[in-house]
Amino acid sequence: MLEKLGLLPPAAATHAAQVDALYLFLIGLSGFFALLIGLLIIVFAIRFRRRSEHEIPSPIEGSLVLELTWTIIPFCLTMVIFFWSARVFVSLRTPPRNAIEMFVVGKQWMWKVQHLEGRREINELHVPTGQPIKLTLTSEDVIHSFYVPAFRIKQDAVPGRYTDEWFEATRPGTYHLFCAEFCGTWHSRMIGSIVVMEPADYQAWLSGGTGATGAAEGAASVAASGEALFTSLGCATCHRGESGALGPALGGIVGTKVRLQSGESVEVDDGYLRESILNPQAKIVAGFQPVMPTFKGQVSEEDLLQLITYIKTLRASPGAGGAHRES
């Protein structure tokens, strides 16, 4: 209804209803208070207009009861909004475990997307309905922001690190994709479309069937590309997963905690893997020497994402000389 009137954007993901409900609640609340204040002002201004130039109204000092009332009631109302909006936010920030991952790299002025299966897109993103999807974002130059109004999601893509956002599309169709963080000359052209498809259509599209833009050239899966890189960059020489190797074994390492030389421990996640490739000396796993060279400049953001994806697919081999795990 409101969408047809052009007052709400299309709702095409599970979060849209939650965000809209909060929005409409706030509209109602604000409308009530704005009307209350406006009405009181108008009524008072007319009812108590100055009738003679010499009129001196009797002073009213104030009232502690009233002051407390209009301090405490708004405070309680804001707390309701706070907890409600925080719930929505936490849900927006917590991708379900079964979410499939896609990688998005922003650069002036385009969005480059790669599906796990290998399909690449520019300024377009095809997604299936009914499937939670987690986007891992980064940027090659300045800060961008991946904004899909129909999904009510937005997240800055910050150079030098990973951020993420997730959604579960509900309604097939084509929706706007905007860059929401000012990024230079063609900021307003750093736009694209999100194509939501029925799962079957999506599968067909993935395999290059339906006539979507971009042929099936990048058909090798992300993990496969990562494996190729892993080999060509010579990573396997040291991280071969045997005891006595120069570097820690990587099988099954993701998601665990490793102890560092400094005595602290760190959780192995995308960020840590990224740092360890670009800046290997920063956090050395206990029991290893700082001998790894940096790969900064040799790998692009997309290469990095492929490598990390590949490392995530590795499984622990029994008896490997891995890092000292905790938990």
Binding site: R93, T94, P95, K134, Y162, D164, V254, G255, E267, D269, D270, G271, K312
Partner: protein
């Protein structure tokens, strides 16, 4: 507070000389202590010790050299507010920096 309130003469306190020299010597000793303490491995405590000594030294300078101990309440209050603001700037910024990794852990 208003103009006619401070009808008395100057109330700037003249700090006795021994106090100045005492503070000076204390500051020198504390400088030595902080440098020496830095060479002892106290783990995470090192930074804590260094900053505590720095705060003590700064307080001595503020209270005695800068006469904060002897001025009207207003000045110490304002100094406290400024340091509070600074502390807030550092703490709330650190609240972000420290906890950034916490959420991604669940994602792997």
């Amino acid at each position: 507070m208003t103009r006619d309130d401070h009808a008395g003469a100057r109330h700037d306190h003249v700090v006795p000389l021994p106090i100045y020299f005492g503070v000076f010597v204390t500051l020198l000793v504390l400088t030595g202590v902080t440098t020496a303490a830095a060479f002892v491995d106290l783990g995470r405590l090192n930074v804590f010790v260094a900053l505590t000594i720095a705060v003590v030294k700064a307080s001595l300078v503020l209270l005695y050299f800068m006469h904060l101990r002897y001025t009207a309440r207003l000045t110490p209050l304002m100094v406290a507010i400024a340091f509070f603001w600074l502390a807030m700037m550092i703490m709330l910024t650190m609240a972000d920096v420290v906890s950034r990794g916490w959420f991604t852990g669940a994602l792997g």
